[in-house]
């Protein structure tokens, strides 16, 4: 004992650690892992040097000589590879975030449909789930892409249901608001509104008042500025429509495919969650005279959420990772950027490691959010 005290707190902790069962085995394991890892890195870098292959991430700041087509973050040939990767990541995020939201909606609707007393609705939803879940996603993506490019008319024969809206096999073209200096201040007002709304919600828990606080400031600024809202309609100029907003068939195919495929899985998760709520709860609600819709919304769904959330996390992670299949149909997301950077620079290890890091961070981020939500949804037991 005296000996241990003499070494101070750290020493005592260390000695007690070494006395744990299996200490030698675990320490040796760590030593082997470190040596193995070091040998692997050393061998790879020695081999790359022998092959006189360039290595390192310096290429990210060199000029990239390709075009991506569409991206949230503007990118043109001549920008850096770093920007190309940012543009690719933004496209991945766009399709993943929209896919997660839409697939949840599809899942909820189909799950409720499957539980519906109507035999036809329940049967149709059952069939949807069974057929969609059992066809590989890649095939579905190629199907949607082929369907959109060969099923829709070419640019010069565009379908135009409403003036300014054009549907072609090169995408859907919509009118877009023309930029106005007042739009900046409206955006700031929206941020202020969002802050106010959050404050009201957390302080007073008043939903309607919070909504009002969100909408009022931007609306006031908008009206004060004289309602500057002009739309620019797309126009056929040269080969393509110019102006307005464009939704490409590749993006649409990606979003449709991911939404429908993941939606079918989500439907099963949600259905299981709803069925997992004790039927006594439902009966108690009915005994209180609540309508079936209110029972579902106020009693069943909140309790089902606890069962649903962990599986949904899984499903969302899958959706994000599966967005990498986009490379097959030509949607320019992060894998496409990495492939072309790999081709141009030959730095395979660096490019692959970037995609791995991107997907790993996206997945960890998504699961962190959902774990937080899950913790909040759990029963608080006293």
């Amino acid at each position: 004992m005296i000996d241990i005290i003499g070494r101070g707190r750290f020493g005592a902790r260390f000695v007690s650690l070494t006395r744990r069962p299996g200490f030698t085995a675990q320490a040796l394991l760590i030593v082997f892992l470190v040596i193995g890892g070091w040998l692997a890195i050393d061998s790879v870098s020695a081999n790359l040097e022998r092959l006189s292959v360039k290595s390192g991430y310096g290429f990210l700041f060199e000029e990239a000589q390709f075009e991506l087509g569409e991206s949230l973050i503007a990118f043109r040939a001549g920008d850096t590879y770093l920007r190309a990767f940012a543009a690719g990541i933004s496209n991945t995020l766009k399709v993943a975030v929209l896919g997660i939201i839409l697939s949840t909606m599809v899942g909820l609707v189909v799950a409720l449909g499957q539980l519906s007393p109507s035999v036809v609705v329940a049967g149709a939803c059952r069939m949807f789930v069974d057929s969609v879940r059992n066809v590989p996603l890649l095939l579905q993506l190629i199907f949607w892409q082929t369907f959109l490019t060969s099923g829709l008319p070419i640019v010069r024969n565009a379908l135009s249901p409403v003036d300014g809206v054009y549907l072609t096999n090169r995408g859907l073209y919509l009118p877009a608001p023309v930029a106005d200096p007042a739009h900046g201040s409206i955006g700031i007002a929206l941020l202020v509104g969002a802050g106010l709304a959050a404050l009201i919600w957390f302080a007073f828990r008043k939903g309607r008042l919070a909504c009002l606080a969100l909408i009022l400031p931007p609306l006031a600024v908008f009206l004060l500025a004289g309602a500057p809202l002009a739309f620019e309609a797309p126009e056929l100029k040269g080969f393509n429509f110019r102006g307005g907003v464009e939704i490409s068939p590749e993006f649409a195919a990606m979003l449709l495919g991911l939404t429908i495929y993941t939606g079918a899985f989500n439907a099963e998760v949600i259905r299981a969650g709803i069925l997992g709520v004790d039927k006594g709860q439902r009966e108690a609600g009915a005994a209180l005279g609540l309508t079936p819709w209110r029972i579902m919304r106020k009693i069943v769904l909140p309790q089902a959420l606890r069962i649903i959330l962990p599986s949904m996390t899984n499903s969302y992670l899958n959706l994000t990772k599966e967005s990498s299949l986009a490379v097959a149909i030509g949607y320019p997301e992060v894998v496409r950027v990495s492939n072309i950077a790999l081709f141009e620079t030959g730095q395979a290890i660096e490019c692959i490691s970037i995609i791995m890091i991107v997907y790993l961070s996206l997945s960890l981020f998504t699961s962190a959010i959902l774990n937080w939500l899950n913790a909040r949804a759990q029963l608080v037991e006293r």
Partner: protein, 338 residues
């Protein structure tokens, strides 16, 4: 613990094995088979038919290389590779020779640890457009949507060229050329860009062979060449001189039909040295003395090689152009065989 140790030792041994490497030519001879990376979907270039037979320009080069090194054109193991896989496969040693219409460029040769052989196919990058657009020159393509193969030099040249002309375009880039041409023929794109021989191949097979024009101008040179890993000088010499040997054979009018006869009857010392009847050029290079006879017998001289795969008699009829001999107005030349 013992299990853990043996795994670690095994892993270390494996890492060590890749570090030690002899000249590839000796490895191929010891193995008795040449591993060749190529493609399987372009008739005339690299194609695997429904009977499991390989054919095409890129495929034949590997067959010729096997004939030169191993004495038998059938001793090739073909590995099908996509554009993104091809360089990693070559670097890792999965294949010995990459013959997949790879375009030779200075950045590739100087930064990637590879050597180009040849180049054995001189072409460029052109456009095919729908006739109904009424486009007759590449300069009218401003604002066009262009179908392009993802991860190829064509993609880079396309961006460079439009940028240089201060014109804009929207790319639709896909991984496979099947997908790319499907997009083009569905009019998802106004134009499709690739080397004219490949455009001609697809146009000939399409539903509307008359509905498309291949524009005259080329926006970039594309000199295609087989590739090997750097640091294998003996293999490089054999393959480079095999390419020049095929050109020399065409100059000397030696074909796959008459090569045996000329070898036995010719009195010309240059021809006799070329075919290995005299001297010991082949042995000095690490192959047999009659290696060029075997190459010519299996894949022919350069003219036969071109015509069988791309030229007259294939239905593709891609003119030889730059790929003709220098004396016929082309750019194919070979150093002397002294």
């Amino acid at each position: 613990m013992i299990g853990m140790k043996s795994i670690a030792i095994g892993a270390i041994a494996m890492l060590g094995a890749t570090a030690a490497q002899a000249e590839l030519l000796d490895d191929i001879k010891a193995r008795g088979v040449l591993k060749c990376g190529t493609l399987n979907f372009l008739a005339g270039v690299g194609f695997l038919d429904d009977k499991g037979e390989w054919s095409g320009y890129d495929v034949d080069f590997c067959k010729g290389a096997a004939a030169a090194i191993l004495g038998d054109a059938s001793k090739v193991e073909f590995v099908i590779l996509t554009g993104a896989q091809m360089f990693p496969a070559l670097e890792s040693g999965e294949i010995d020779v990459l013959s997949r219409s790879v375009t030779q460029t200075i950045s590739r040769e100087t930064t990637m640890g590879i050597d180009f052989i040849g180049p054995n196919h001189l072409t460029g990058q052109g456009f095919m457009v729908h006739n109904e657009l009424g486009v007759s020159s590449v300069d009218e393509l401003d604002g066009a949507t262009v179908c392009v193969l993802a991860g190829t030099t064509t993609e880079r040249y396309l961006a460079d060229w439009f940028r240089g002309k201060d014109m804009t375009f929207t790319p639709v880039a896909t991984e496979t050329s099947d997908q790319m041409f499907a997009n083009y023929f569905e009019q998802r794109c106004d134009a499709v860009t690739m080397e004219p021989p490949y455009l001609a191949i697809r146009r000939a097979k399409s539903a509307t062979p008359d509905g498309h024009t291949i524009l005259d101008a080329l926006i970039a040179k594309s000199f295609e060449a087989p590739v090997i890993r750097q640091g294998n000088p003996a293999l490089r010499e054999v393959l480079q001189w095999m390419h020049w040997g095929m050109i020399t054979a065409e100059e000397m009018e030696i074909t796959s039909e008459n090569v045996d006869e000329i070898a036995s009857s010719s009195t010309d010392p240059v021809v006799r040295r070329f075919l290995g009847v005299e001297g010991a050029i082949g042995e000095g290079m690490g192959v047999s003395n009659d290696w060029m006879v075997r190459v010519i017998k299996s894949i022919g001289n350069f003219g036969e090689f071109y015509d069988r795969n791309l030229g007259s008699g294939t239905g593709l009829d891609v003119p030889r152009g730059m790929n003709a001999l220098w004396r016929d107005g082309g750019a194919m030349v070979a150093p002397g065989w002294q």
